[in-house]
Amino acid sequence: MTRSPTRDFLVGCFVLAGLAAIGYLSVSIGGLNYSGPGGLLLYAVFDETGGLKPRAPVSISGVKVGQVTSIRLNDDFRARVEIDVDRSLELPVDSTASIVTSGLLGDRFVALSVGGDDQLLRSGDEIGFTESAVILERLIGKFIHNADLDSNQEGGKGE
């Protein structure tokens, strides 16, 4: 088998294109990231995550600044959510993390509202103020329950 520059070049291009495609699929679409010097790693404890998933976005004023890295159950049976945000962010210690929904039935994500303290959060710190996810079914359940109570009371007055 003799060397053929054209054929070798084409094979080289083929392999490079394949590796580039695998890389694009893994990193850009698959969300693979090498765990080098990460961003600002914070955690927050919630009573209810309401179907928040790892890799869900973390946003401030609707701008994506990071993502959820893991969700675990704490020793006290509350959910411990770890987030990885842009390390250049200067977040005061009294910032609030809340789990909200995009749209009525959309995906859950973590919204941060920035506080006013002078001290800043550092990597590994806990975000003390949290707002759990709102479960629509429970709200409706409460609403119906209250409506029942109201109508019973009105009925009682009538007698």
Partner: protein
């Protein structure tokens, strides 16, 4: 009646015998890879034949499959008012299932049959005997580069197929049906994970490549040395490899959930 039972028994014995011989053949290839010097030049030549020459058919088919997925996915999803998750539907079905499987089927037809025919013709014209006479091991010299090239080529082709498919879905969904382009890409990005979807897709492609490479070279190597023998070996490569791909696809999905 007794004859029919006898035929069945004979067919079962032949099947098991073929499986055993194929395993031994795979063992021979493995031994040649480990113990003999690598034949890079032959391997690159096979990469060209199996990979570069299959590019056009893979990209065209990927684009077509992606466009169909975009159209069908849009029709179905818009009934539930969920058309904005079209990207996830197209991407996940391509990554997890259609990309590796269809690429392997196409590669069987395009490259596997050619491999069998080439080796089979070498058997028919006694070229392999000639090699043995020069004390060159035909498994090392002829079979191994082809089988290894098939393994290397399959994940690359499958990935290109998937990317073409995602592009085709974008073309139809966004440009034609009016799904928002940002929604398409963001639902794709947020639903595809590296470990479950991308790595699984590559694993499937590698396993299919090994299967097709093994079946194609084995069928060629054991072809009867006549023109009819070569043609029936080529046919059986396509049939057996296609069935093996689909069955093993189920097995892989059931075992590892990819």
């Amino acid at each position: 009646m007794a004859n029919a039972v006898q035929d069945l028994g004979w067919a079962a014995t032949r099947f098991v015998e073929t499986l055993g011989q194929m395993t031994a053949f795979a063992g021979n290839i493995g031994r040649a890879v480990v113990t003999r010097p690598a034949r890079y030049r032959l391997w690159v030549d096979e990469l060209f034949k199996l990979g570069v020459l299959s590019l056009v058919i893979i990209c065209v088919c990927g684009l077509a499959v992606g466009m169909v997925l975009g159209l069908q996915g849009y029709t179905t999803l818009s009934r539930f008012g969920a058309a904005e998750s079209l990207g996830a539907v197209v991407g996940l079905s391509l990554l997890r299932e259609l990309g590796p499987v269809l690429t392997a089927l196409l590669a069987t037809g395009r490259a596997g049959s050619a491999t069998t025919a080439e080796i089979g013709t070498m058997v028919a014209t006694e070229q392999l005997d000639g090699l043995r006479m020069l004390s060159v091991d035909p498994i090392h010299f002829v079979v191994t580069p082809k089988a290894l090239a098939m393994i290397a080529v399959m994940p690359i082709l499958s990935t290109l197929f998937i990317l073409c498919g995602i592009g085709g879905g974008y073309l139809v969904g966004v440009e034609l049906m009016g799904v928002d382009g940002g929604n398409y890409m963001s639902s794709l990005r947020s639903n595809v994970t590296f470990r479950d979807d991308v790595a699984g897709s590559l694993l499937k492609a590698v396993i299919f490549g090994a299967l097709v490479g093994l079946i194609a070279t084995y069928r060629g190597y054991t072809a009867r040395p006549t023109s009819a023998g070569v043609s029936s070996a080529t046919t059986s490569t396509v049939v057996i490899a296609s069935v093996a791909i689909l069955i093993s696809d189920y097995a892989i999905t059931a075992l590892w959930g990819v």
